[in-house]
Amino acid sequence: MERPFAHLSVSARILVFLCLILLVSGVRQPARAQTTAEEYQVKGAFIFHFAQLVDWPAGALNSGSNSINLCIFDDEPGRQELQSTIEGKQVGARAIHVHLLSATQELQGCNILFLSRDESRRQTAILRGLRGIPVLMVGETSNFLSEGGMIRFHLVEGKIRFDINLGAADSSHLKISSRLLLLATSVTYGSDVGQGR
């Protein structure tokens, strides 16, 4: 009653199927570009949109220069991909300028700060230091929002999603557009609500 070939025949059938598929696929031409891209390039493009959909309070952006400064730590993974995607891109009348940081004391002048998941050690101190200051803080560690960050990236099924901490943005007087809020996976009031006022 044992059926030793039942299993093999299935694998044989799979092989035949595979060969057919390969034959068919060999004559097809690519239809359009693969929608796959390097994670930090896409994150850079997201940050570009964030810059468009966030309003800084009057005087927060340098009136002397025509740039929005995006600060990233020098040694972070993905820094180059992010920088090459976003450097020089125009947001209204201003161009995004990527400013590389090598130590925490250089944070003045940042309008946007991106902290990668490798920065969880520095993160707590940085986020605390920037509380109430109009710097859009974008990060990706799991506790980024609870520590006072504003927008946190996460991956869902290989696609980038983000969460927003509205309380942290409020207490830094950054206005996040409703369009961004609608696209966020979750919106929390964050832990700054009670403390900031």
Binding site: A6, T36, R117
Partner: protein, 660 residues
């Protein structure tokens, strides 16, 4: 690891991503050499991912409670420390068709064939995500990934920097008390260390007795992640655990006089493991990984004693070939050795055994039509010490109809290989006094492994449909038809007089056989609906039907009905997650599980709820209530369980986390 979609450099360099809308960006598959694993859900398989955020929000105390939210998974707590967890049928205390891996280390017990859930105690806040695949995954993960695979993946040490202290207490548990600290050290890279302890109280049995199944566990461990160069990274992790859990079990306690009694057992175990993984990124299109681990368990009570250990080495190469093929191949070798001590109830012949498993596997994901049609074909060739060579093939097709609709289908083969208990065990089940019919010889009913036990085989046909109607609603469905052969049966043997162990007695033996076959089919549905910006509703439903038969030569009259009826045919769930102002998060989960006819387990609805309050940046407080609908209910009463089942009580606990 299941799916390797897209190509690391497949995207045209000239495209300016900032020209795309946010909605388009949200539809891009991201590739990142270090994060490939996160793309599992794009694959042509029934995948469900529990994220770290879900874990934090639900306030669950252990991994089995977290797994209840996976539609199609059958999770039943047996007593204070034991669970029966399976996908697509065949559930039991030792569910032998579900493979579980913890950071790449298989935790499937090679003696009892199954996962000992009381040993799977990763501190929950260290878990990055849990990926659950229903259906076979043997072509990638190897034998015993027959009905499902669960991958528990912990956060890298870089993501858990700083310290945290957690303390909890409730009417049924004390703890877990967890201390964790992460930092960076010269020469070591990022590291974290943790220690955790908890104690769970005993549950009542059906007869109203105290189950004496209280459970204590202390464990600790570490993980380091170090970048050796721009291309190389090294992860090392290890854990040590000591546990102690009670149970009531009906066992033969003596042959002279022959006595079978329900006794309180004390199961004690020591586990430790050490794993290291070296990853090298040769180029953005090519990456290798070499992983070595050692795992040892010593466990026993007065009825058994085992100490299996496993040494495993695995090499994997992932490479993009041309613009359309994404290949993963690898080889592995595993040595499982164990020692056992004979006992009146459970003994193994031979007492010690070492087996070797060799495997070689390859999977190629071919983009047939870019953005539209992907075919993934793969196979794993294994050689194990019991049954020799096995081929486990798989073909999966994923077809994106448009950006919102995707269908997939798959055909795969998988095997469940014999474990020590299938081949070598002797389990003295029942001892009773003789009568005039036996010539006053005492009677011993015993259960024997079968030295020629074969592989159980599955051929699975699956299909699924995923839909993202809008950004606030998504649907994931899967259907399957499984054909099994050589399923394990229990065959009666010839009654004989046995002299040893003394006194002389009448032996009524039964043996494992491979006399059962059958078909199962079912469907699993899951939806995620963002009803409002602060409110998410997640309904789920699973249906399962099993038809098992015995071959003509089999004399097994009970297994087919027992396995067929040993599952709920319908399971449904509804989960709600609400973000409230003042940093409050409120979760409610209701689970309906239909009756398990063969076990006389009535249908039940389980309601769990949790409220979490982030009180500032460093403190989080949560309160959880479980089983709120009824005073107590039974979840499992399977024939293969060695312990008396307990009743799940209504319970509550509170937990505070402080990070620094």
């Amino acid at each position: 690891m299941l799916a390797f979609t897209g190509h690391p450099t497949g995207f045209a360099q000239a495209t300016d991503l900032t020209q795309k809308s946010i909605e388009d960006l949200m539809n891009i598959n991201v590739t990142s050499v270090s994060k490939k694993e996160q793309k599992t859900s794009e694959t042509a398989a029934a995948v469900f991912v529990i994220s770290g955020e879900d874990i934090r929000r639900t306030g669950a105390l252990n991994i089995p409670d977290l797994l209840r939210q996976v539609p199609g998974l059958d999770v039943a707590q047996i007593d204070g420390s034991q669970w029966a967890i399976s996908a697509r049928g065949f559930n039991g205390q030792y569910s032998n068709k579900l493979l579980v891996l913890n950071d790449g280390r298989t935790v499937y017990n090679t003696v009892f064939a199954g996962v000992l859930w009381d040993s799977q105690n990763v501190p929950l806040e260290s878990i990055e995500r849990i990926e659950v695949i229903r259906g076979p995954g043997a072509a990638v993960w190897g034998s015993n990934a027959v009905n499902g695979v669960i991958n528990i993946i912990t956060k890298s040490a870089g993501e858990t920097q700083g310290g945290s202290v957690d303390a909890g207490a409730g009417d049924a548990v004390t703890g877990p008390e967890t201390i964790r600290y992460g930092g960076k050290a010269r020469g070591l890279g990022a590291y974290r260390v943790y220690a955790e302890g908890f104690q769970a109280g005993s549950l009542p049995t059906h007869a109203g007795l105290d189950g004496q199944d209280d459970w204590r566990l202390v464990h600790g461990g570490f993980r380091t992640d170090k970048s050796l160069s721009a291309k190389d990274s090294l992860t090392t992790e290890g854990d040590v655990a000591q546990g102690d859990a009670g149970a009531l079990a009906t066992v033969p306690v003596s042959l002279q006089p022959p006595v079978t009694a329900t006794v309180a057992l004390r199961n004690r175990y020591w586990d430790w493991n050490l794993l290291t993984r070296w990853k090298r990124t040769i180029s953005p299109r090519s990456e290798t990984s070499l992983q070595i681990y050692f795992d040892r368990t010593t466990r026993g009570d007065t009825t058994y004693s085992i100490d299996p250990n496993t040494f495993d080495i695995d090499f994997q190469h992932h490479v993009a070939w041309g613009s359309r093929q994404d290949i993963v191949w690898g080889l592995g070798s595993r040595q499982s050795a164990d020692g056992t001590h004979p006992n009146l109830r459970i003994s193994f012949t031979p007492q010690k055994r070492t087996t070797n498993l060799f495997s070689i596997y390859a999977q190629d994901e071919i983009t047939i039509l870019p953005d539209r049609l992907r075919l993934s074909v793969g196979a794993r060739l294994e050689h194990n010490g019991y049954t020799g060579f096995d081929l486990e093939p798989s073909a999966r097709l994923a077809w994106s109809l448009n950006s919102k609709n995707m269908v997939w289908s798959a055909v795969s083969g998988a095997v469940r290989t014999p474990a020590r208990s299938d081949r070598d065990i002797r389990l003295n089940y029942y001892a009773l006094p003789g009568s005039i019919e036996t010539g006053y010889l005492p009677i011993l009913v015993s259960f024997f492994g079968n030295p020629s036990e074969k592989n159980e085989r599955l051929t699975a046909f699956e299909a699924g449909y995923r839909n993202n109607w809008t950004s606030s609603f998504s649907l994931d469905t899967a259907v399957f038809y499984n054909r099994y052969c050589n399923l394990e049966s229990v065959e009666p043997g010839a009654t004989a007089v046995e002299m040893n162990p003394s006194p002389p007695h009448l032996l009524i033996p039964t043996f494992y056989g491979n006399g059962m076959y059958g078909e199962t089919h079912g469907a699993e549905l899951f939806a995620n609906w963002k009803a409002a910006s602060h409110w998410t509703l997640s309904p789920g439903y699973a249906f399962l039907s099993m038809h098992l038969h015995t071959i003509a030569s089999s004399l097994d009259i009970s297994s087919a009905a027992g396995v067929e009826g040993g599952k709920p045919d319908h399971q449904a769930q509804l989960r709600s997650s609400v973000s409230l102002p003042k940093n409050l998060q409120w979760n409610v989960s209701a689970y309906f599980v239909n009756r398990i006819p063969a076990q006389s387990v009535p249908a039940y609805t389980r309601l769990d709820t949790g409220l979490t309050w982030r009180a500032g940046q460093r403190i989080s407080i949560s309160a959880v209530g479980q089983n709120l609908f009824s005073d107590h209910h039974l979840e499992y009463s399977g024939p293969n369980s060695t312990v008396l089942p307990g009743l799940m009580r209504r319970s509550a606990y509170a937990k505070i986390s402080w990070s620094f």
